[in-house]
């Protein structure tokens, strides 16, 4: 498992290749990249907690699905429109497990990992508000067994 919280950009291909090359049983890599939309932003986080919180989410995913390996990279600091923010890549023998675990990790990152976005709009900076739909997305996993 690789978890990194960093200011630097990442390269999706290299990360996915690194996963796929580790184990010849890996046949499926599902990945997700979150991208900054129209507005530049600053991402703040809680350094002492962030990586541990992400590792906990990944462990939970591994207990639910057949996950052979997993990479999560989350950036913080100043980001511009169309910059990459987050990468979750999950390798598995089976695509169903790879997809489910990847989406699960993203949903939990959105509600459990200590990041906050501040958008820099023309009319001034403002903190992005959490969306109820993100809580809903995370909660729908609660009753499910993988």
């Amino acid at each position: 498992m690789k978890v990194s919280v960093q200011t630097a950009d990442f390269d999706l291909s290299s990360e996915v290749k690194a996963l796929a090359e580790k184990n010849t049983n890996i046949g499926a890599v599902a990945s997700f990249v979150g991208v900054v939309r129209e507005v530049a932003m600053t991402l703040e986080h809680y350094p002492a907690m962030t990586e541990a919180a992400i590792r906990k989410i990944v462990e939970e995913a591994k207990s639910r699905w057949e996950v052979m390996d997993c990479t999560v990279i989350h950036r913080y600091g100043e980001l511009q429109p169309s910059d990459q923010i987050v990468l979750v890549a999950v390798a598995s023998a089976h695509r169903g497990d790879a997809f489910a675990a990847c989406e699960f990790i993203m949903d939990y990152l959105k509600t459990r990992a200590p990041f906050w976005k501040k958008e820099h709009r023309a009319e001034g900076a403002r903190w992005v508000e959490a969306r109820a739909s993100d809580d809903d997305a995370a909660e729908r996993w609660a009753g499910k067994v993988g």
Partner: protein, 85 residues
């Protein structure tokens, strides 16, 4: 007892501080009690941490409910609902 307070994002800005060491009465031994205790500091604290505000808490870098206990030496962080990902 002494605990370490941390504030993040909008809360940090509103309170004008990223955190502090604080000496608490022994009775203030849950997250909820600590939050109420801080409201006593005046208007700025009430508007940032009052009941109307959605505030999340972590104790020793673990997200917890407001009923969670706190003890001497803990790091208690208050922050708005997270918006990463």
């Amino acid at each position: 007892m002494k605990v370490k307070l941390l504030f993040f994002a909008g809360l940090r800005e509103q309170l004008g501080t990223a955190g502090e060491e604080i000496e608490l009465p022994a009775a203030v031994n849950t997250v909820a009690a600590l939050r109420t205790h801080l409201l006593g500091r005046g208007e700025r604290w009430q508007s940032a941490l009052g009941e109307a505000r959605l505030v999340r808490t972590a104790v020793n870098q673990d997200m917890v409910q407001s009923t969670a206990r706190i003890k001497a030496g803990d790091e208690v962080a208050f922050f708005p609902p997270v918006t990463g990902g």
